[in-house]
Symmetry: C2
Subunit: 384 residues, 2 copies
Amino acid sequence: MTLSAQPAVPHLSGERFRVRYLIRAAEADARALAETICNEQTVEFPEAALPAGAIRDQVMGRVENFVSREAALHEALISYPVESAGSDLLQLLNVALGLSSLLAGVAVEELYLPPGMLSRFPGPRFGIEGLRALVGVQDRPLLCTALKPMGLTSENLADLAYRCARGGLDILKDDHGISDLLFSPFEERVTLIAAAVGKANAETGRSCLYAANISGPSDVAIKRARFAKEAGADALMILPALTGFELARTLAADDSIGLPILTHPSAAGGFVAGGMKSGFSHYAFYGTIPRLAGVDISVFANAGGRFPVTRDESYAAVAGCRAPLGELRPILPMIGGGMGIPRLPALREEFGHDSIFLIGGGLHTHSHDLDANIRAFLAGVGAS
Amino acid sequence: MTLSAQPAVPHLSGERFRVRYLIRAAEADARALAETICNEQTVEFPEAALPAGAIRDQVMGRVENFVSREAALHEALISYPVESAGSDLLQLLNVALGLSSLLAGVAVEELYLPPGMLSRFPGPRFGIEGLRALVGVQDRPLLCTALKPMGLTSENLADLAYRCARGGLDILKDDHGISDLLFSPFEERVTLIAAAVGKANAETGRSCLYAANISGPSDVAIKRARFAKEAGADALMILPALTGFELARTLAADDSIGLPILTHPSAAGGFVAGGMKSGFSHYAFYGTIPRLAGVDISVFANAGGRFPVTRDESYAAVAGCRAPLGELRPILPMIGGGMGIPRLPALREEFGHDSIFLIGGGLHTHSHDLDANIRAFLAGVGAS
C-alpha cells in the first residue's frame, strides 16, 4: 500500500445521486465499462491499491442497475455520493461525464439528483410562465428569429430588428456568429437594436424581446451583460459549449441583471451523444443541465433540418425542458432548423404550445416581402 | 429581397485566416459540405437572399483548396475574413467549428492565422523554456502525478504530495475530480499541499511544482486562482471543455497571478474529432488552441492507454504543442494514460525530451513502496 491503509475520510451523508448511462457495446463489455466508469469518474485509482473503507465503499460509483435494451445497447444506472459533486455545476458534469467522454459509445442519458442537491440550484428565474408574462402571449407557440447575416452594420441589423418586431415576432436574438465584430461592435449594436425594438413595441403595444449575444472572456462577458441590461436588451444569449454553463449560472443568479437567459448550441456537437459518440443525451444537454444553470430558453437543432438529429432526440430535448425537476421551473425549448411555414402545423402538434420556433432562412425566402412572411409564420402558429 | 439590396458594410481589410477541414463523406457530398460550411460558419443565410456585394464576396467563407485523400476522406481549406473572428478566442472557435460541430464527419484539422491575428494572442507566459527554468530540469522529460483518490482528506493529500515531492517528481497536480469537496475543501487543500511541497523542496533543494485545480463559476474561479497564488501554489489547472478556454486566457494574462496554466481534457471527448465525430483535431485542440489561450502545459490521453486514441492522434497533439506558431511559445505536452515503467524508454524515444509524462495508477501499483516506485519512474526517464 502506497497510501496509508486507513486514510481519514470525513463522514459521508450516505445520500447519492444517480446517472443513467447508455452504453453501446456487447453485454460483457458494457458491464465491464460500467464498472470502469464507477472508478474513472470518482477515484480514478487502481482498485487493488485502494485502501479498504469509505473510499472504496462509499466514494466510488456503484452500479445500481443494469438493463440490456438490445444486444449492443445497455443501460447502467450508477450512483455517486452527493459529496463527490461538490457545489459547482461544473463539478457535477465532471463527475457525470468527465474523462468518460473520451470513451466511445457512452452517453449520460439522465441525471437524477436528490432534493437536497437540486435545491442548491435556484434554476431559471423566469421559466415558461415568466417568459410568457414578459412577451404577453399565452395561447400559442412563440416565434423568434436571429438578426443576420454577419457583415450587416449595427444600423442594418437594427433596421431589420425594427421590421421584425413591428411585424409581430415575439423574440429577436443576435445571431450566434455576431458577437463583437468590426461590422457591428457589441455596444453599438445592442444599443441600436434595443432602441429599435423599443420603438416598434411602443408603436404596436406588444412586447417583443431582444436577446443580446454575450461572449468574450468571463469578466468581459459579465460586463457586456450589464451593458446589455442598461441599454435595454430584454434577454441574454450565451454559447455554453464555448463559455461553460457556469456563465449562464452566474448571469442568471445576478439580481442586478435579472434577465432571461437563452443558450445556443454552437460548438455543442461534441457534447451531445449520438451513435458511438460519447456525451450527454439531448434530454440532459438541452434540458436538465440548462435548467440547473438557470437558463430560461434552450435552443436546439430539430430533426428534419440540416443536422443529423433524430425525431426521438428532438422529443427528448423538449421533454428535458419541461419535465418535473424538483422545484426548478420548466423552460421553453427553442426549436430551430428547417423551420418552413408548411411544417408549422405539424410542429405545433408535435411539440405543443409551450415552444418557441426559431425561424431561419425561411423568413427571407418565403417571399420577397418580409412583412408578409412574418404574417404567414404567425398564421402558422395560430396567432389571431 | 427582404434585406436592402446594398446594405452598408464596413471596409474589410481583405486579410483572411484559413481553416483546414477533414471531411468524411463521398467526394460530391464532401464538396457540397465544404460549400455549406462557408455559409454556415459565417452568414448562415440562404444564398439566394444574400444581397450582392461585400457580404457575399468577402464575409462568407471561401473554399481555397479541396484535396481528396481517400474515396471518403477529403481536405477542404476554407478561408474567412479576419474580421469574422472579432477579438475573442471564443469567437474564433465559433467561426471555425460552431454549428458545424453538429454535422457528422467534419474535423477542424488546423488553424492558419495570419501574423496580425496571432499577435492579438500573447500566448503562453512560460512555455517549454520557462517551465524548465521553474523546475530546474533541462535534460530529460519531466514526471508528474495527480494527487488522489477522491475521498482523501486535505491532510492525506498533503502527506502524499510531500512524499512525491520528496521522492523527486517534478510536478504534482490536483486530480481533475478534486475541486472544492467536503473531503478536501479548496482553500484548505491548496494551503496544505503548497506548504507540504514547499517543505519537501526546502529539504531536497529541488523545485517540484504544485498545480491547483481551479473550477467553479468564473468569478469564483478567478478568486480561487488568486487564493492559490497567495497560498504558494506554483501553477493552475483548469478543465477548458467545462470552463471554456477563455478562462485560461484570463488567468494567463493576469499579471497579478502570473502562474503557468495547465489544461486537462475532462469532458473534452466531444470536442475532439474522431471517426464520424465532428470536432477539433488533436493538433488543434491540445496544441494550437491551448497556446492561443496562454496555456503552458496541455494534458492529453495517449494511445495505448484506456481511451480509444490512435498513435497518429497522440503525435498530432504533441506536434501542435511544439510547432512554430508565430511568436507564441511552444509548450509542454503532458502525456497521460497507460504510463507504466516498461513503456518509458519507448515513450521518450517517441515523444522526445520536451514532454511531461503523467504517472497514474502505476505510481501506486508498481510496488508497495512509493519511494521505490518514484525512483523507478525517474530512472525510466533518464534522471541521474
